[in-house]
C-alpha cells in the first residue's frame, strides 16, 4: 500500500502547482519549510502548534522531527513528492480554512508514518510484525502518542 504511490503523487503536485492561489500560499506560508527536516517550520501554522508543543514534550523530541515521521524514508523522490503534496494540500486547506476539525491524519499519511516507525525500529519489531501478505500491524494503535499527544 505504502509503496508505488510516488508517480501518482508527482502528477498531483504538478497539477496542483498550476493553481495560482495554492502555489502562492505554498510560498507565502513558507511551503519551503515542508522540505526541511526541522520541526519549527511546521509550527509556522498555528493549526500545527498543538502538535509542535506536544512534540517538544514527547519521547521523540530528541530523535525525530515532524518529517521523520510524516515523510517517507523509502526514496528521496517519494519523500519530496509527499512533502510537496502535503505542503500544497495543507497550504490550500489553511488558506480556504476548509478542513475538518479536529484535524485528522489521512489514511495515506498514516501509512507514511507507520513506515517511518519501521524505518527506525525495524530491528526491534520485525519479530512481532506479521508477514507482508497480511494487513500491516498498526504501531499507532498502541503508540499513538509517541510523537505528540492526541
Amino acid at each position: 500500500m505504502r509503496r508505488g504511490h510516488g508517480a501518482f503523487i508527482v502528477v498531483m503536485v504538478l497539477f496542483g502547482g498550476l493553481i495560482g492561489l495554492g502555489a502562492f500560499t505554498f510560498v507565502y506560508a513558507d511551503g519551503a519549510s515542508y522540505m526541511s527536516s526541522d520541526a519549527r517550520p511546521c509550527a509556522n501554522c498555528h493549526v500545527m502548534r498543538a502538535q509542535y508543543e506536544a512534540w517538544q514534550k514527547s519521547s521523540h523530541r530528541e530523535v525525530a522531527a515532524c518529517n521523520d515521521c510524516h515523510a517517507p524514508h523509502s526514496s528521496l523522490a517519494a519523500k519530496l513528492a509527499v512533502k510537496g503534496l502535503n505542503g500544497f494540500n495543507h497550504s490550500l486547506a489553511f488558506t480556504t480554512g476548509r478542513f475538518p476539525e479536529p484535524i485528522r491524519i489521512t489514511d495515506f499519511n498514516r501509512d507514511v508514518t507507520e513506515g517511518a516507525c519501521r524505518h527506525c525500529h525495524d530491528a526491534m519489531v520485525h519479530a512481532i510484525d506479521p508477514v507482508p501478505e497480511e494487513e500491516e500491524l498498526s504501531c499507532v494503535r498502541c503508540h499513538v502518542d509517541v510523537g505528540h499527544l492526541h
Binding site: A29, H46, P100, R104, V144
Partner: protein, 424 residues
Amino acid sequence: DIFEKKQESRSPFFRVVELTDDTEDPAEWGKNFPLQYDGYVRTVDMVRTRFGGSEAVLQTPTTEDPRTVTSQSKLDHLPELRRMWAGYAFSKDFREERGHAYMLEDQIFTERQQAAPQPGTCLHCHASVYVPYKKAGDGDLMAGFEKLNPLPYAEARTHVTHPITCIDCHDAVTMQLRITRPGFIEGIAQAKAAEGFSAYDVNRDASHQEMRTYVCAQCHVEYYFKGSEKRLTYPWSKGLKVEDILAYYDEVQFKDWTHAETGAPMLKAQHPEFEMWAQGTHARAGVSCADCHMPYRRAGALKISEHHVRSPLLDVARSCQTCHRASAEELLDRAESIQERHARLRDVALNSLVDLIDDIKTAQAAGTDAERLDAARQYQRKASFYVDFVEAENSTGFHADQEGARILAESINFSRLGQRALMR
C-alpha cells in the same frame, strides 16, 4: 483569509464595553465576546438525536400558555411515567428538555405550575438570578436567595428578566469561571465534608478543570425544597450515590408526595446529571461537562469554547474526536449502543414498578393487613426513586453506563420484593 489569521492571533479580543458585576444583559457581554455570544444565542435551535436533543412541537398558544413551540412530551413517550407519578404534578406535564434559551419560559408555562403552587426557589436554576439575588439581599447573595425562595413563584419571577446569562458562570472582570448558585455552594461543601474536606469553598478550592464541571452542576443535579422556607437543598451530606441520597431523605423523613393509587410516601428524582457523571468512566478520567458539551472550536486563529451548549452527539467530531481516534460514525454508534442497552433495561424496570403498583392496589382492595401493605409501599418508594434517578438523568445511561444498569437492577429487585412482601 490568511493575512487576517495572522492578524487575529495577536489580538484575542477588543474591550468594546466595560462589564461590571451588575451587567446582566448578555448582549452587552456579546459586544466584547461576539463569538461566544453567537453560540450562546443558538441554544434556541431544536434538533433531535436518537435519544436526546429536542424536537420542536407546534402548539396553539393559549392565555395560560402563549408558547407556540414546545418539545415532545415524555409522558406520551413513556406512559408508565403517569402511573409512577400518580397524584403528582409531573404526571400532568413532563417534557423533553431543550436549549438554555427556553429555560425561563418553559418553567413559567409548564402545566405543573397550575397543578400545584410553586415557590420562588424554582428560579434558582431557570433564570439569571445572580444580580436579582444581590439586589434583593442588598448586596448579600445568600440573603437575597433566602428572601426570594419563600415567595410565590408569580411574585418572585417579577424579580428576574433573563434565562441563564454570562454572569451566571463568569466573573465580569476576569472572565474566570465562578459559581454563583447558593444551592451548589452549600451542597458541594456538604459533599466534600462527607469526603473529609471541611469548610470547602468552591470558588476558592476548586481546580480549573473542576470548575468546567461545577458551573454546570449548579443546576444539573438532584434537589429538594427544605422546610417552610422552601430552602433549595442538594441532598449530598452522605455522598452523591443514589443510596446515599435515599438514606438522606429517609433520615430527614422527606417525601415529595403521596402516591394516588397506593398511598406510598414517594420521592421524585430530578436531572442528577452531575451525580451520575461522577460515577462514570469519563469523570474518573477527569473529563468535564464542558469538554463534551462546550468543545473547543476554531474561530480564525482563536480556539474558543462552543457556547452553543447541546447534545455532543450533534457534533461528535469536536466533542469526542479530540480524545478518541475512532471515526465519527463509529463513536456515535458506540454512544447509541450504550444508550440502547440502557433504554431497554429502563423499560424492564418501569414495567416492574407498574406491576408492584397493580399488586398493591389489588392487595388494598382485598383488605391485606397494614403491615404487608406498608412493607410493599416502602419498596415502591425505593424502586420508584431508583428508576426515576436514571430516567430523570438525561444522558440515557451514557454518563455512567455500568452504574446506570446497576441502579436499574436494584430498582427491579425492589419492585419484585415489594410484590413478594404482599404474599405469604
